[in-house]
Amino acid sequence: MIRLEKRPQASQAFSWAAPLLAVIATMFFGGLLFAVLGKDPITSIMTIFWEPLFGDFAFYYRPQLLIKGAPLVLIAIGLSLGFKAGIWNIGAEGQYIMGAIFGAATGLAFYPTESFLIFPLMVLSGALGGLLWAMIPAILKVKFGTNEILVSLMLVYVAEQFLASMALGLLKNPEGFGFPGSRNLQQYASAHNAELIAGSGMHWGVVAALIAVIFAYVLLARHQLGFAIRVTGEAPRAAKFSGVNPTRLVLFCMGMSGLLAGLAGMFEVAGPAGQITIDFNVGYGFTAIIVAFLGRLHPIGILLAGCLMALTYIGGDIAQSQLGLPAAAIQVFQGMLLFYLLAFDLFTNYRLRVGRTEVA
């Protein structure tokens, strides 16, 4: 007879082993999935995980790792603060879009003036865009007790429609021959989020992501607000007694995650993407949820998980072009990762006991 027994204390070791096990299980079952699709599983997995880092064209793919990883880490860090406290902002995709629109609109408003002030201004308005969008579910939650999960998610669809209307209307490139989409910010020096070191993939978004990791680490480990976040998540009643103000906490966590998602969107639109288009958003806001969990809601873990997830994006692209692996297969692969993580997490709080149940 095998049964589950609750551990007196959550296992630290297993808490860190679970993501690794999840990655291994995903590689195995992902390989099976690829085999079912008629691709050689070993080659596919190698293409996804090895090729971008050490393959023949790694010099091209490695910078991509930073470009794809930065928005994921930036968004996931913000989400993790809320998730830790049981505040579920799952509308990061919408906040990312709004950040991009606000940032790009600010930059385009100054076109064609050149000034070193424009880019910082765009950063500020990008952050503001995300922040404002996240404040809608936050304020509704604290004022009316509205479920923040549903509201933040509904706002993703609203933001997507808003993006479409901007790309076709207000922000459309007047010299774009009627094609939808804004001017390309890459061709506007003051607004371009260029690589800091040419060919490295390092742009301001990467810097911001690293700062966010450090900021979150210090906040959680050293600051009273970080304590409030952790204690609210682990023991809400104890949090009440220790004088945590839940309203402030909701506003802070939602606001912070919106702000960071907005920044991610702004850096993306001013750099790698270049312009506001109808399909500008590619789901970073949702993948970041997986990143946050895979990183155990811990800043360093999120940094690693973000790199890994960026790797699956790039490797997925390579596998798509070289092996003809469908794009959706990578999405499934990423989804699987979260499944296995959640399943293996059981052993963080419980252990298996083999043998007969004793009568207490």
Partner: protein, 306 residues
Amino acid sequence: MDLSAINPLLFVAGFLVAATPLIFAALGELVVEKSGVLNLGVEGMMIIGAICGFATAVETGSPLLGFAAAAVGGAALSLLFAFLTQITLANQVASGLALTLFGLGFSALLGQSYVGVKPPRLAEVNFGPLHDIPVLGPILFSHDIILYLGFAMVVAVWAMLKFTRAGLILRAVGESHDAAHALGYKVVRIRTLAIMFGGACAGLGGAYISLIRVPQWTEGMTAGVGWIALALVVFASWKPWRLLLGAYLFGGITQLQLNLQGAGVAIPVEYLAMSPYIITILVLVVLSADKSAAPASLGRNFHASS
């Protein structure tokens, strides 16, 4: 702008069709939540149902077999959620999100070769002379069997929850799983069954979108209907009749917004397309004050040791 282009009869008949996916998905989720489980994976199960139903209907030529496959597909995906939350005791919010993310990807993978294919049509139920009644005929008696099934299921779930022993047990598990466990009810088993019912319903709702409402397959075609269904359960304060009312309200808004787009109203299409989501938020705000109707154990995991 030409509002007279909107035919009121077609409009009403159309919003009954628009409401049906919501009725299925929300009704399934209502039963799941009554058992004390919060499954945020409705969107994922719907889209899996949409493609399973679509693919089966195209391959076999039978829309009804398609709907059956959709129910099976939705229930199969929900088993993953049941495994995560009932066996491995994972966080329900995270597991539900995982289900949605996985479902969206997996459906896109399954549906690759079905883009642009036309599914077989499900015939209208033949009501004979009833169909020819002016006004009522085209509105009420010119639909497919699944639409009526949706209505019948609302009645069945209402009766089940209110009058039967099974309904009482389900509610007991949702209100206090510890008490239900102490009385000897198998909490995990009952919840797993409820989750599977929810999955099957969501699958049916998804297939209704891909086979009848649209009818074609595109990636991510459920476009948030699953999430609106979740909001609808809150809106209905976990009561089947209010759920029906809510679904018609949302179906009406969706249909009106589409009709207004067609009629060429001065409001840009994008802003009209936002309206169902914004109205969902507004409704949630108005109704959030009263949480007393929510099952007391909603979202809490159960393990016999605790």
